[in-house]
Amino acid sequence: MSIKEDLIKELSDSVVDMEEEKTVKAANKWVKSGLKAYDAIDKGLSDGMNRAGVLYEQEEYYIPELLMCSDAMYAGLDVLKPHLNKSEEGDKHKVVIGVVEGDTHDIGKNLVKIMMETEGFEVIDLGRDVPPIDFVNKTKEVGADIIALSTLMTTTMDGMDQVIKLLKKEGIRDRVKVMIGGGPISQSFADKIGADIYTTDASKAAKTARKMFAKGGVMSER
C-alpha cells in the first residue's frame, strides 16, 4: 500500500476504533504529506463514520460507541478542514438542529446530527433547551434548508408547533423544511402542526433529508 492508502486506512480505522488522538495524529501526518485534505475526509474519516454506522445498525455498537467515533471524526475534521480548498467545501445544505425549550434529552438529537453530517449536511447545533425564536433566527442567519427539532417529553412538544408558527409569522415557512422526532412524536402530531417530515429514528431522518436534497456536500460524494 502507498503512504496515502495507509493513512486513509489509519484515519478510517481510528474513527471506528474511537481513537481520537490517533485520528488527529493521522490527520496531521496527512497534512504534512501535502496530500489533498478532501480525500482524507471523504475516504478516511467519512468512511470510518459510515463503518461505525453499520456496526450501530448491526447492534455491535451502541450510542456510547457511536458518540466516541463521532468525537474522533470531529477531531480529525478540525485538523483537515482548514486545508480544504474553497471549492471543495462545496455549498452544503444546512441544517439547524436542537432540542426544544424545556427539554434537555439530547441523545436522539446528537445521533441525528452525526448521521446528517455523515450524509453530507452542514449541521448547526443549537444544543438543548432551545427557545423557539432561536431556531428561527439561526435559520434566517445561516440560510438553513432544514430545521430539525427533537423532544422526549410530552410537556415540551408544543415548542415544535411554536417554531412553525414563528416561521409563518416571519414569512419564511416555505423556505425551510421542518423535521421533527423524539419519543412522544408521531406522524399524526407532525400532520397536526404541519411539520414536513417525521421519522422514527436518526438513520431514517438523515436518509430522508438526503433524498430530499439529492446534491450533498463534501462528505457525501462517495
Partner: protein, 290 residues
C-alpha cells in the same frame, strides 16, 4: 400460569400536572419544586385528583444532581427544573465531587415534604434517580464514556460517591416516613448503552444502590421503574417472579396488598409508579430478586 415481562414505557400525558389541581391548590411554580410544604400540598392534591393510593415527591429528576453540584434552571409551570450547563467537564473535575448534604437546599425540602405527607397519614413515595441519570445531569455522558476508556478506577471512585449519596437520600426518605422508594435510572438503560457498557457500568451501579439499600429498607419497599428493572433482568443482575394478586385491583392497591401480606417482598418492578391509580390489566406484581 406463565407471565411474560412486557413492560413498555408509556409517555402519554402523565408528565403533566393536571391544570385543575394547579388551580384548586393555587400551586406556584417553581415553588412546588423547592418548598417542602407546597410540594407536599400539591402531591396530596394530585393523589386525591387521580383517586390514587400514593402521594409521590419530588416532581422532577434533578434534586440529587443539584445536591451534588449540578446547575439547575428551576423553570416555570410549563417547563420544569432542568440542567442548565454541565459542571463536570473533564476527568480532573471528577475529584471535585463531594458526598451529598441532605441537611440543606432542595433535597432537604423534598425530605421535609415526605415527612409532612407521611405524618398526615399519606402513603408516601420518594422518587429517587439512579446513578447514570444523576451522572448525566452532572456531565455530558461523552465525558463519562471518554473517562472509562482512560481511567476506569477514577470513574468508579466518582460513581461510588454518587451511589452512596443516592442510598443515603433513599434511607433519609424512609426515616421520614416514605413507604415506597421509586427507583429508576432512565438514562442508563440497556437499549441506550448496549450490553457491554451496561453490564460493566450502569447496571452494576444500579445493582450496588439496591444492594446497599436493601438492608436499610425497614418496612418500606423499592419500586423499580420498568425500563430499569427489565434492563437489569436482561443484563443478568436480577431475577424476577410474578405474584398474582386479586383481579380488579389498581396497581396501587396491589402494592398495598403486597406490603401488608408479603413481607418477604422488598423490591418490585417491571411496572410504573404512574400506573398506581389504574386498574391492572394483568393482575400480577413482579417481585425482583437481587
Amino acid at each position: 400460569m406463565e407471565y411474560v415481562i412486557d413492560f413498555k414505557c408509556v409517555t402519554d400525558n402523565d408528565e403533566e400536572i393536571p391544570e385543575e389541581v394547579v388551580l384548586d391548590t393555587g400551586a406556584n411554580f417553581p415553588q412546588v419544586h423547592y418548598d417542602g410544604e407546597s410540594m407536599a400540598r400539591l402531591a396530596q392534591a394530585i393523589r386525591i385528583y387521580n383517586k390514587d393510593t400514593v402521594s409521590m415527591v419530588p416532581f422532577c429528576m434533578t434534586v440529587e444532581a443539584e445536591a451534588l453540584g449540578a446547575h439547575i434552571k428551576m423553570g416555570d409551570r410549563k417547563r420544569g427544573p432542568r440542567v442548565s450547563n454541565y459542571v463536570f467537564k473533564n476527568m480532573e473535575d471528577f475529584k471535585k465531587i463531594k458526598p451529598i448534604d441532605l441537611s440543606k437546599g432542595r433535597i432537604n425540602q423534598v425530605l421535609k415534604a415526605v415527612n409532612i405527607l407521611s405524618s398526615s397519614g399519606e402513603q408516601t413515595a420518594l422518587a429517587v434517580q439512579g446513578p447514570f441519570t444523576v451522572m448525566s445531569s452532572l456531565m455530558d455522558p461523552r465525558t463519562f464514556y471518554k473517562a472509562i476508556r482512560k481511567d476506569k478506577a477514577s470513574v468508579d471512585d466518582f460513581m461510588e460517591v454518587i451511589i452512596d449519596s443516592i442510598v443515603s437520600f433513599a434511607e433519609a426518605g424512609i426515616e421520614n416516613g416514605a413507604k415506597i422508594i421509586s427507583f429508576g435510572d432512565s438514562a442508563g438503560t440497556l437499549d441506550i448503552l448496549g450490553p457491554r457498557i451496561y453490564k460493566n457500568y450502569s447496571g452494576r451501579y444500579s445493582y450496588e444502590v439496591l444492594k446497599k439499600l436493601y438492608p436499610r429498607l425497614q418496612d418500606a419497599i423499592v419500586h423499580f421503574c420498568g425500563i430499569t428493572s427489565s434492563s437489569m433482568d436482561k443484563g443478568g443482575f436480577v431475577t424476577s417472579e410474578p405474584i398474582e394478586v386479586e383481579k380488579g385491583f389498581t396497581y396501587g392497591e396491589a402494592l398495598n396488598y403486597i406490603m401488608e401480606n408479603r413481607k418477604d417482598v422488598k423490591i418490585v418492578g417491571h411496572n410504573c409508579m404512574r400506573k398506581t391509580p389504574a386498574k391492572m390489566k394483568t393482575s400480577v406484581v413482579w417481585k425482583i430478586n437481587l
